[in-house]
């Protein structure tokens, strides 16, 4: 319900996206969810967490979990260098960081630029997709970051906490 509303909002109100790379692939998220962009720093590991949750870091006093999207989507190689980027997001009243290979640009998209993803043959679960867009030669995958972050699949939130929100 909640994610549905945000999805609609995205279509109608916001058409600016931050695009980033995971390996060779070009992804983009709603720019309004982006809090800041940082370099990768040492994380504190957390027991019993899935492999794509690297751990937590201290973001000016907040304990923030870091998710490596490359591991989650199985694209690219999860290496950590001085160029590895963490995008801090404000999603569902929470702060989370996602690890990506690089940030490329802010792109403006009209509603008509966004194509629906094919109904099958895509490994990526379409409920986390807003759509696909073409940018010159590239295909840009628009991720519905709200529903991805709050999904049970990611296990980032306690179930009761998610229902509460």
């Amino acid at each position: 319900m909640n994610s549905h509303i945000t999805q609609e909002n995205m279509h109608s109100e916001s058409n600016e996206f931050l695009s980033f790379f995971l390996g060779e692939e070009h992804y983009a998220i709603d720019i309004m969810t982006v809090k800041e962009i940082r370099g990768y720093e040492t994380v504190t590991k957390i027991a019993n967490a899935p492999s794509f949750i690297k751990g937590v870091i201290n973001l000016r006093g907040d304990i923030v979990p870091i998710i490596d999207l490359r591991i989650k989507f199985s694209v690219g190689e999860a290496t950590y260098t001085e160029f590895t980027i963490v995008i801090m997001l404000n999603v569902c009243d929470r702060i989370v960081g996602i690890v990506v290979d690089g940030v490329s640009d802010v792109i403006k998209l009209q509603d008509e630029d966004i194509r629906p993803p094919p109904e099958f043959g895509v490994a990526f679960d379409s409920k986390y997709l807003l759509g696909l867009a073409s940018l010159e030669e590239h295909m840009v995958i628009l991720v519905n970051i709200d529903s991805l972050i709050s999904s049970d699949e990611l296990g980032l939130f306690d179930n009761h906490a998610t229902t509460k929100e």
């Binding site: 957390i46 019993n48 751990g55 937590v56 201290n58 304990i63 979990p65 702060i95 296990g155 306690d158």
Partner: protein
């Protein structure tokens, strides 16, 4: 716009809640034999503020109820009615109703209009019944040989000073011609002048004020005047009024001279001085109140929390700086180090004062208990005196709210189970009045809150019998302290009969759990026939925990100090094996081992206990040894929530930020023990 209104609503609700709490407290404290006018005023003001606020926001149910309440209180403070227990009870009842209504408005729930109507009609009934008796009373006490009309005039004149002009009254006096009425007449315009805020000197010109200000209403006066003039030789008092309805101040002076001949002014001066003085004292007290209010501001706790966070960051940055500076060679370093030392001191002071912003005196919790005790003791027919000590002890705001329920339960318990019935007390040679002491004090780095009663004390035999009945393994030779702990088990009740106060056995285990949730523990002392004492130990603040930092491979963890018995490097001979799991034999006891690297899935840690460190840990009902690589020292750490952005993690109570900016996890020994038990590594019996 609507969002703006919501903001104001929040403030109104908060304030009204405070007003209600204040009102309740003042009502409780009111000495009925000799009510303190200041207290009555303060109660009145509280009701008035709620009425005003609710009126603005259109919370009609509140407005209606407080209006009647205000009327009643107004008369109480004007001494036209006498405060009785009956009135206080009804007022307390009304504050309860107001609280419920306020909550309903706050949560946008349905308003129980029938309850409101009932509340209003109850107040109205009381007022009417008081009216009857008041008229009676006043004619007894105020009567000075005049007729009934005089009395009404007198009372109304009195009420007049509190902003209630009455035309009928004026007319009555006009039509009456004797001296006393003339005097009454003088008194009233004075009041009008008071009301209008004119300065005192002009009081002599009051006729002018009356006639010009109340001109539309004063037809009756003018009409009545000639009649009066005919019957009274002092009739000249009325003529100027007719002659100078629109006099300017210079004419007024003339008027003043004219009236000087009257004997009345002296009378009048005496009369006016009383209300004036009253007014002044009221004004003084309200300025006193205002200054108290202006010395504090209402701040969203979220803002303070973020300030605490930022200060924490500042402390970390500062320690980073000092680390960097200590690596720097040469002369500039010395200056830098001096500056950093200064910075260190400043940041520490800032941190302390920011922390203290979260602290509130225990009064905030304790103040509700006189009411609880009053209600409960009258319900149970016991005589109980509540003594509150150490209300000024400060405690973290986060804890104060969570303390209310456990404390309420314990106080109710003390009265219901502890304090004996009056006749039993007398038979035992105790004072008729039972005493419950609610005490808070700070001891070192913890706060101790005690609920002490001089009642019957816990019944050891009955607790043991009950425990056996419930199938718990008990030993009749158990020390008292272990017996008392039994009452914290779920479903445990020693009450002979289930009352609506207690006895369902859902209480004490919840009390303990609530207290543990805020890092506290509870101890019981009790002796048969002499009373019992429940002592709650709480950390000074929720936000800081004393802990020992331990290392496991490259990771750091914090173990709360309260749970640590000691740390040892075990001798290989102390290690025993049970189905291939190691047990530690120390202090005449076998300790199951929890390997932190295993539960926290850390690679590269020391696995051999005799090469590592074992911390002996005691949680509320389990003891175990925690295997870690090494100790890094004791430290106070600021607890950060892991759940805020992530989820709960088994075995972890929260996180903190170390001096190097890294995150360290704070271990939750309770759940750590549970997770181990689930893995079948522990042979600890389940409690």
């Amino acid at each position: 716009m609507s969002i703006d209104m919501e903001q104001f609503h929040g403030v109104f609700f908060d304030e009204s809640q405070e007003h209600l709490a204040d009102m309740e407290q003042q009502l409780m404290a009111l000495d009925l034999s000799e009510p303190d006018p200041e207290q009555l005023n303060s109660i009145f003001r509280a009701a008035h503020s709620i009425k005003g606020g609710s009126g603005i926001f259109g919370f009609d149910a509140l407005t209606g109820l407080t209006h009647i309440m205000e009327n009643l209180l107004d008369r109480a403070r004007n001494n036209t009615i006498e405060m009785t227990t009956e009135i206080v009870d009804l007022l307390l009842e009304t504050t309860d109703l107001l609280k419920v209504t306020l909550d309903n408005y706050r949560h946008q729930a349905e308003i129980e209009q029938s309850d409101i109507d009932e509340g209003i009609s109850k107040l109205n009934c009381l007022m009417t019944s008081l009216d009857d008796s008041t008229t009676q009373n006043s004619s007894d006490s105020h009567h000075k040989g005049g007729n009934n009309q005089d009395d009404t005039g007198d009372i109304d004149g009195f009420g007049f000073f509190d902003d209630e002009p009455s035309d009928t009254n004026t007319a009555q006096i006009d039509s009456d011609g004797d001296d006393e009425d003339g005097f009454g007449f003088f008194e009233q315009p004075c009041a009008t002048e008071n009301e209008l805020g004119n300065d005192e000197n002009q009081g002599f010109g009051f006729f002018d004020t009356t006639s010009s200000e109340t001109a539309p209403d004063s037809v009756a006066i003018s009409d009545g005047a000639p009649d009066a003039a005919q019957t009274d030789d002092a009739g000249y008092g009325f003529f100027p009024e007719n002659e100078h309805p629109k006099d300017d101040p210079s004419d007024n002076k003339k008027g003043y001279g004219f009236f000087e001949k009257l004997p009345a002014p002296s009378n009048k001066a005496k009369k006016t001085s009383t209300p004036k003085a009253l007014k002044k004292s009221a004004a003084k007290s309200s300025t006193a109140k205002a200054s108290v209010e202006s010395s504090s501001i209402r701040v969203d706790t979220g803002k303070i929390d973020s300030l605490v966070n930022l200060i924490g960051e500042l402390v970390i940055t500062q320690s980073m700086l000092s680390q960097v500076s200590s690596d720097m060679p040469g002369e500039p370093n010395e200056k830098l180090q001096n500056a950093i030392a200064e910075l260190t001191r400043n940041t520490r002071e800032i941190q302390e004062s920011v922390m203290s912003m979260r602290m509130l005196p225990m009064h905030f919790t304790f103040n509700r208990f006189p009411r609880v005790v009053r209600d409960l003791s009258s319900k149970l027919g016991k005589k109980v005196d509540l003594v509150i000590e150490g209300g000024n002890t400060e405690i973290d705001k986060g804890m104060i709210e969570k303390l209310v329920d456990p404390l309420t339960h314990l106080v109710r318990n003390s009265i219901d189970h502890g304090i004996e019935k009056t006749e039993d007390r007398l038979a035992l040679g105790k004072a008729e009045m039972g005493t419950v002491i609610l005490k808070a004090e700070q001891k070192g780095s913890s706060i101790i809150i005690s609920i002490i009663d001089d009642g019957a004390g816990l019944n050891r035999e009955r607790i043991l019998a009950k425990a056996q009945e419930n199938g718990m393994s008990v030993d009749t030779d158990m020390p008292d302290s272990d017996v008392w702990k039994l009452i914290f088990e779920a479903g445990f009740s020693t009450a002979e009969a289930v009352t609506d106060v207690s006895g369902r056995g859902v209480g004490m285990d919840v009390v303990r759990r609530n207290l543990e949730a805020i890092g506290g523990r509870i101890e019981i002392e009790s002796s048969q026939g002499e009373g019992s004492s429940f002592n709650i130990h709480l950390p000074l603040t929720l936000a800081i925990v004393d802990g020992i930092c331990v290392s496991v491979a490259s990771q750091t963890f914090v173990v709360p100090l309260v749970n640590i018995i000691e740390s040892v490097q075990p001798d290989p001979s102390q290690m025993k094996l049970i189905s291939n799991e190691k047990l530690l034999w120390i202090r005449d006891q076998y300790w199951p081992l929890v390997k932190l690297h295993q539960t926290m899935q850390i690679e590269g840690a020391i696995t051999e206990p005799s090469e590592a460190i074992v911390m002996l840990i005691e949680s509320s009902n389990k003891r175990f040894g925690l295997l870690v690589d090494g100790l890094m020292g004791q430290q106070q750490v600021v607890i950060k929530s892991l759940e805020q952005n992530y989820r709960r993690v088994e075995g972890v109570a929260g996180a903190t930020i170390m001096g190097d900016g890294q995150v360290a996890l704070i271990l939750d020994v309770e759940s750590l023990a549970n997770s181990v038990k689930a893995n079948g590594m522990s042979k600890e019996s389940t409690l």
